[in-house]
Structures are given as structure tokens and as C-alpha cells.
Symmetry: C4
Subunit: 254 residues, 4 copies
């Protein structure tokens, strides 16, 4: 006979149960999370908030109750897993995993209104649970492939990032010295100049801050052209990563 | 001897006739569609509309007559196709296909000016007829190749899209909480903040809305850099898809 | 003994002379063209033009004399080539080649000041002669490779372009109907809306024209995201083209 | 017994010492450089500078002393290297290498305050020493791979750059003639027009300068679309470069 804890465990940790995983609970929770995310988004519109404030409050209470129950059941049944077997230290270890912390922080602000800090924005991070849905569909292999390539190519990508950041710092400093005379109230400091540099290097270009001197424009043109490399390098790295991985699957012996 | 219906069928459905497809009719219709699109575009310029209003009206009547005839002939001859063989239910089935519905919606507003719906809205659908252009292109292997790769890689592309949308929602929410104090009339709500996020993530950067606080700028820089990944990932996926497909064609045995 | 015409021919058409090509003349002419381009650029700066007007005028006369002589010698000696062998019709045929026309249009405005139209901007097209310099250096194979891939992949690139243009027209029209009520003086016509669409789809985003209604922003977000595809598709096509060409060179038998 | 010079040499040139390289000194110096870069950045913020001016000055003196000692020890011990063996000419040759010049220029302004020119921005170039850190970590192979591909593909990349620059000059000139009548105070000269062109071609699009005439907008749309090619070509080149290099590593015989 199967214990109550084991049954609950199978429900709240479906992916860990080897056979007959039941994703119903996961789908329900993720739907509730998505509704919560939607609530956070539309609640921020003043007109909507004014009209449906009562509804949002009720939905909030309902969600927090469900999420709290989920958290408690997970905390209770996590000892079924090999890694968190010990009743006390196992549960403590589990409660310090990133996902458990986000789950706790998602409900805690409701119970601790007196702590002053508004931690409700943490709830938005639960959105990433949406990726659990991929387990149900057949998208897992795609997700796994993308993650594998990012891990395989992490060194090349890190070097690209390091080079970009160095370029960004050097250009920001040069630009600050080039423009601070002409636009003292725009290029006020190097951190401000770095904001300009990152927005130019990524080719966003808001237009709130841009060079007006000849030297500044030459530097600006150079960093804009460097931005092309910033797009081309990681793309080339990832493209070869994908090709490589697909080739490996075909000729596993190689 | 070939019946009249079969002859018409061969003219209006050239791609379904196996041998000797005659594209003359298709070219005429698509030219007329392109002229219609051109008319819609230049008609919107007030000065041009004021001068050539009469010409536009006549061209409209002529086009609608031709498109109506085309629709009726298609409806009449569609029973030649295996899928729509039955006189009544077959024709009904055909008339509910997306292409047939668009064709109907392209001419219907002209005959039903008395119905209470906003007619101008329906008229826009006529513009989708431009996608018939792709019908000609369908015969080139290029379109087939692109579509095949998009279908092959749909899982990877979907995961990328899902990740991008999640990122967009998370950053929009964080940005709203970071900027609403400093710019309450700009970052008015999370949906507004999402507009900022999508325009930044795609590296468009209009400059109508951008962060001004230090925290906001750090978040903005992070999402701008994430935008590079949003370009690099699908490009890498598609690049490997094209390479793979070309390799397959050479070594079909593999 | 070699005739005078043959000698001149060898000088002005170095790449057509099989052995011992002498590029001295080409280098001199291209240097003069580059100096002309530089003159056109810096002449446009009012302060510089005011100070060195006399010098620019003299340089102009000198350049036109040299370019005219070059043109006449080419016209005279072109009959040495198999394709333009006949004295009259051959020379006429040569003078109608694009490069000869640009060469003629580059000097003609000087002799025909009374024709009224300012054709001096045509001179800038001679800049593309700079690619002749690549013949001298060892960059020819790179230029040839890039051109070959663009030709090989022209169908895929054309389908991408066709799809982009269709998308652009459809979104421009929808955007015009979505925004013209809210911003009648900004979205004045569909051509104006197309300017917005092309600047958004290419992720430039000047910020002179952007949607402000909810529907317009949704459309704007969709076209901005489509822009990622517009970058990813040709990049993927070209990347596979380069890989394919390199693979061919290694295994020519395949 | 090992001489003092040899011992110092081993410390300041760790990568040249074949066995038992000791990177401690490198890590210390690079940390100090990073702290200097950080100081340059935050020192530029007026509020921070006002409060910690004394601290920055002291840190400056400390840094310059360390960097001067490092420079002198390097100058003294460089004769241990084969290339700079001769006491006088060898040291002179070493002091004229780019890295040695940057090291000298990084400390010189401190000792020569009377030279008038503010050379402190040169110090920022020392930031690139950060790449020495990669030697310690295992990122060297990634850095080496990226550099190798950039070198391998330098011809294709150079042709792309040459073509982009030509396009930029041609479009800038055409745009100047198209817009100078409508916006004489914006498109003041061709160099100004080139600033517009580079910001559009790289898809940054600040919005400080953009065409308003119909012809100007058509040119602007064309250059914006050309910008896609400017991203696609180098990306395709690099992607094939990475794929090629990875394939080579697997089948070294090929």
C-alpha cells in the first residue's frame, strides 16, 4: 500500500516520478501562475485597477492560499527524494534551492505586510515555471538542445562578452572626454556615457543621448560598427554549435 | 472532348492541372491584385485621392467585377477537385477554406454597403490577397526550402519565442517598478512598459520611452544585451537548418 | 612591332591583357577618383568650401581633363576587344555599357553646364571603381566567393525579400487604419506609414513616427519581432551558402 | 644559482617562462588595473568625486608607484628575452612595442603635469590587459579560436567592410543632395550626412537626423535594408568559419 505522503509526492513532483507521471497538478499550478502574471500586468493599469480592485484582492487571497498549500506539501514530501531524505536538514536544504526560495518569496510578502519592502515583483519570476509546461509537450528535446549548445559554447560566448564589455568601457571613457565639453549636461559622467555605449553597441539607439562633436561622432560610428561584430560573433558561434550538434546525432561514432 | 467546366477549371486552378499548367490567368489576376494594392496605397495620399477620385472609383468597380467572376468560376469548377467533388457539400467545404473566405471578403463589402459593420475594416482584408504572390513563388524550390526549415526547426524557434516572451514579461514588470516613481506619466502601467520592452529587445529603440533611473538603466542595458541573444539564437537555428537540408540533398542515403 | 593603339589598350584595360598586366594606370586613376570623392565630401562643408574654393575648382578642371582623356582613349582602343571589334557599332556598343555610361556622365556635366540639371552626384558612383583595386591585391577570391554565394542563394534571398515586402505593405496599411484617428498629422497616408514600417522592420527606429494607440502598439510589436526574422533568414541562408562553398572546395568530386 | 634579474624576469613575464609559470604577479597587476579603471569610471561622477577626492588621489599615487616599478623592472629584465638581448638597443626596441608604450603613457602624465595635454584617458587602454587573465583560466582556446577565425576570414570581412564603406559614401552623398533643400540646417554637409548613414546602416537610429523628403525616405529605406546585409554577410562568414574550424579539428587529415 502506498502512503499518503508518497501519493502527494507523486502529484507535486510529477517529473520525478518515473512511470505514469501525472501532469494535471502541474498544469493547474502553471495556469494559476499565468493568471497571476496576467493579474499583475493588468492590475497595473490604473483604470482597470480602479474598477476591479475587489476582484484582484480576492484572486490574490485565493492564489496565495493555493501557493502556500503547494509550498507546504512540497516541503512535507520533499523527503521522498534521495537528495533531501533527512527530515530536518533535507527539508532545510530543499528550502534553500533557488526554485523553493522563489516559491517562498512569492507568498511571504502576503503574510509579512509589516516588513515594509514591496516584494511582490518577485512573484513575476515564477513565470519561468512556464518552462515546466514544455515537459508535457514534445519541446523538451529542443530546450535541451539549446541549453546544451549554450553550455558547449560558453567559453567562446564568455570571451565575446568579455571583449564587448572591455570595448564598452574603453569607448565610454573616450566618449566622455570627447563630449563633456560640448554637452556637459548630457555626458555628465562615465556611467552615463556607458548607458549611451550599451544602447549604441546593441543598436537600440533611443536618441536620448548621442555625440554632437566630430570626434564624438567618429567614436560613435566606430562603436556602432563594432555592434555588428557583437551580433555576428555570438550568432556565428551558436550557428556552428547547432550544426555541430546535429552532425553528432547523425554520426554518433565520430 | 473536354467539357467547358474542365477547361475553366484548368484556367483558374493552374497549379492543380498536372501537365501544361497555364499561368496566364494567374498572372493577370495577380497583376490586378497588385494594382489594387497600389491603388489602396496611393489612394490614401489626400492630394492624389482628391485629383483621381473618379479614376479610383472606376478601377474599383472594374476590379470587383473581375474578382467576383473569378470567385464564381472557382466556386463552379471546384468540384473538379477530388476533395470538393460533391456538388453542394463540396462547394460549401471549398467556400470555407481560408483562401476562399479571403476572396469572398475582398468583394463582399462592395455588394453589401448597407450592412452595419465597419466596412473599411473588412476592405483591408483584400490586401491579404498579395499573399497570392507567394503562390507563384511556391513552385520555386526556395520557398519550399524556407518553409521546410521553418517547420523542421519549429520546436527550437518556439522555445526561443517562449523564452523571449517570458524575458519580456519579467523585464517589463521589473522596469515598471523601477521607473514608475521617476517617470509616472511615461511608465504608466506594465502594458506600457511591455511596449518599451519589445521595442528595446528587438533593438528598434524609438526613444519615446526609456529609463532614466540608475536601476532602470541597468535593467535596460540587460534587456538590450538579451536582444542580441534574441537575434543570435533563431539565426543560429536557421543557419544550421539550411546547412543540414543542403547536406541531406547531397547524401540522400544518410 | 606593336601598334600605338595596342600599347594604349594594354595600359587602360590592364585586366584584359593576359600576361604582364600593368596596373599602374589603374592605380593612378582610382587614386584620382578617391581624391575626387574626398573633394566632393569635404567641399560640401561650407567653411572648407569658402576657404579653398579656388583649389577645388582647379582640381575639378584637372580631374575632368584626365577623366576625359581616359574616356577618349578607352573609346578609341576598345576595338581591340573581341566584343567591340567593329569601328562604329563596336564603339557604340561599348559606350552603352553601364561603366562607360557612368564614366561619360562623370565628365559630361562639366562640358554641358547649360543643361540645367546638376548631375555631379553621378560622379560619386565612380567610387565603385575602388573594387578594381581588389584585382591587384589578393582579395579577388574573397570578392568572387561573396558574389558567387549571393548568386547561388538568389532565389532564397528573393523569396525572403518578397515576403518582407508583403509583410511591410500589409502592416503599413493596417497601421495606417489603426493610427490615423489618433495621429492624423503623423500617419497622413499609407506611403508615410510604409516609411514607419521599413524603419521599424529593419530595427532602425528613428522615433520620428511611432504608434500610440493600443492596437497600433500591438501591430508595431509584431512587426518589430518580424524584423528579427528578416535578419535571421538571410543570415542563415548566407551562412549555409558559405559553409557549402567551402565544403565543395575541399571535396570537389562531390 | 639563479640571478636576481632572472628571478624578477620570471615574475614579471610569467607566460614567457616555460615551466612553473607563476601568475601571482599578473593577477595582482591586473586587479590593480581593474581597480584603476573602476576609479576612472566612478571618479567621473561629480557627487562621488566631491566626497572621495582625497581617496582617489592617494590611490592614484599608489597605483602610479606600482606601475612605474613594474615598468622599470620589465625594462631592466627584458634583456633576458632572446628578441631584446642587447642591453641598449634591445631595451629601446622593447620600449617601442605597443604594450610597453601604453604602459609608459599610463604613468607618464603623472610625472609630466606641465605638458598640458590630458593623457589620462590612455590609462583606459590598459584595460585590455584583462585578456591576460584568460591565460590563467581555460578560456585561451576559445580566444585563440575566435582570433584564428577572424584571421582566416579577414579577406571576406575586408571586402564586406570595403563594400559597406563604399555604400555609405555613395548614400551619404545622394542623401545630402536629396535633403539639403528641405533641411538645410540638419543635412549641413556630406560628413554630417555620413553620420546619418552610419547610424542608419548599423540600425542604431538615434533620430537626431533623418530624411523628410520622399526621395530621401526612399534612399533611407534602401540603406536601412542594406543594413540587414551588413549584419548578414559577416555573420554568415563567421558562422562558416566556426563550422569549418570545428570540422578541421575532428578530421585533421583533411
Amino acid at each position: 500500500m502506498i502512503s499518503l505522503k508518497k501519493r502527494f509526492y507523486k502529484i507535486v513532483y510529477p517529473s520525478d516520478s518515473r512511470k505514469d507521471p501525472n501532469f494535471t497538478f502541474d498544469v493547474v499550478i502553471i495556469t494559476l501562475i499565468l493568471l497571476n502574471v496576467l493579474a499583475v500586468i493588468i492590475e497595473s493599469v490604473p483604470e482597470i485597477n480602479a474598477r476591479f480592485q475587489r476582484g484582484f484582492e480576492r484572486f490574490e487571497i485565493f492564489s496565495v492560499v493555493v501557493f502556500t498549500l503547494e509550498y507546504l506539501i512540497r516541503l512535507w514530501t520533499c523527503t521522498e527524494m534521495e537528495a533531501y531524505k533527512k527530515p530536518v536538514t533535507g527539508r532545510l536544504k530543499w528550502s534553500l534551492t533557488p526554485m523553493a526560495l522563489i516559491d517562498l518569496l512569492a507568498v511571504l510578502p502576503f503574510y509579512l505586510p509589516f516588513i515594509g519592502v514591496d516584494l511582490r515583483f518577485i512573484r513575476i519570476f515564477r513565470l519561468f515555471r512556464i518552462f515546466r509546461l514544455l515537459k508535457i509537450a514534445r519541446y523538451t528535446s529542443a530546450l535541451y538542445l539549446i541549453r546544451k549548445i549554450l553550455v558547449n559554447k560558453k567559453e567562446e560566448l564568455f570571451v565575446t562578452l568579455l571583449f564587448s564589455v572591455s570595448l564598452l568601457i574603453v569607448f565610454s571613457t573616450l566618449m566622455f572626454y570627447a563630449e563633456r565639453q560640448a554637452q556637459p549636461e548630457v555626458f555628465t559622467s562615465i556611467p552615463k556615457s556607458m548607458w549611451w555605449a550599451v544602447i549604441t553597441l546593441t543598436s537600440v539607439g533611443y536618441g536620448d543621448i548621442y555625440p554632437i562633436t566630430t570626434l564624438g561622432r567618429i567614436l560613435g560610428g566606430l562603436i556602432a560598427i563594432s555592434g555588428i561584430g557583437l551580433f555576428a560573433l555570438p550568432t556565428g558561434i551558436l550557428a556552428s554549435g547547432f550544426s555541430d550538434e546535429i552532425a553528432k546525432r547523425k554520426n554518433p561514432g565520430k
